[in-house]
Symmetry: C3
Subunit: 122 residues, 3 copies
């Protein structure tokens, strides 16, 4: 999981919207968005371990196996987290709670550049 | 899972909004939305099998059993996927990635007609 | 899970928006939003039991353990449910289905007051 809070906060700041919503959308089926504990990296580590165990590689039930052992688990992990998320903007800033950070969760082994669409509206 | 990408894309096209967001909302507690791999039907099959195994029928822990063995699993499967999703619109089109399709996931055995509310805003 | 449908419906009613969307956002990493069966409390009970079993306390794999045995499970349970949700407004009311209620899911044992940001836009 890669934190993208600062990048999104900067985009919100530049948009100059006082009250509104910021929509984030991942344009992929093997990566997703997670808003979670940003203070302790151990929390993210445990989230990742849980996702890896819950949707493991090489499950004999998988039939979609042509793209490698890490592909089907990545679709499941994306499905049970978030493809899109909407964060309110108050006083020109993301209304995140004290402990919340925005993370791009990469569910495949070989990371390629990922695209997140950001839309801000009053 | 039934693909509804084309239906939603047509609604967006008719709305004539160049830049905005398209909100989808399922008005049910036993069906949900999933944005996932649209190219290979085997991927959806595997997602369905995983959901069926993760929230199986006839779990002895269930107490909400009056509506049949497929009812409580359908609530769990809905809870861990999405009741609502928001997709940005760019250049008048849904900003979906190359491999992404929008699916209505039916989690009960006897499918009745389902309602999805579509809201488009600039 | 605590039902908050009435509170949100009142806010929507006061806002006086005929057609639009209502965005809900939980400002926490150990509580989340769930739109589910509001008629039978047994359904929520079963959802809670499933979440407790799927992300149990005292999993030996957890490394983020300093905040107590109920902390890491609460992050996982939040991650696989929803931090934000968007509900369309039609004819001045939330477009919820017949059986849908909005619930704040508390995933820690000692509940403190929780904050949900509500944003309404036409």
């Amino acid at each position: 999981m890669t934190e993208i809070t600062r990048k999104i906060a900067d985009i919100v700041s530049e948009a100059g919207v006082e009250f509104g919503v910021c929509t984030l959308f991942v344009r992929h089926t093997s990566a997703s968005l997670v808003i979670q504990e940003a203070a302790d990296p151990a929390a993210r580590h445990d989230l990742e371990v849980w996702l890896e165990r819950t949707a493991p590689e090489n499950d004999p039930a998988y039939t979609h196996t042509e793209e490698g052992p890490d592909d089907m688990p990545s679709h499941i992990r994306s499905m049970i987290t978030s493809t899109s998320t909407v964060i309110p903007i108050t006083d020109g800033k993301l209304a995140l709670g004290t402990w919340q950070g925005i993370f791009l969760a990469e569910h495949r082994r070989n990371t390629r550049p990922r695209q997140v669409v950001v839309h801000i509206s009053p």
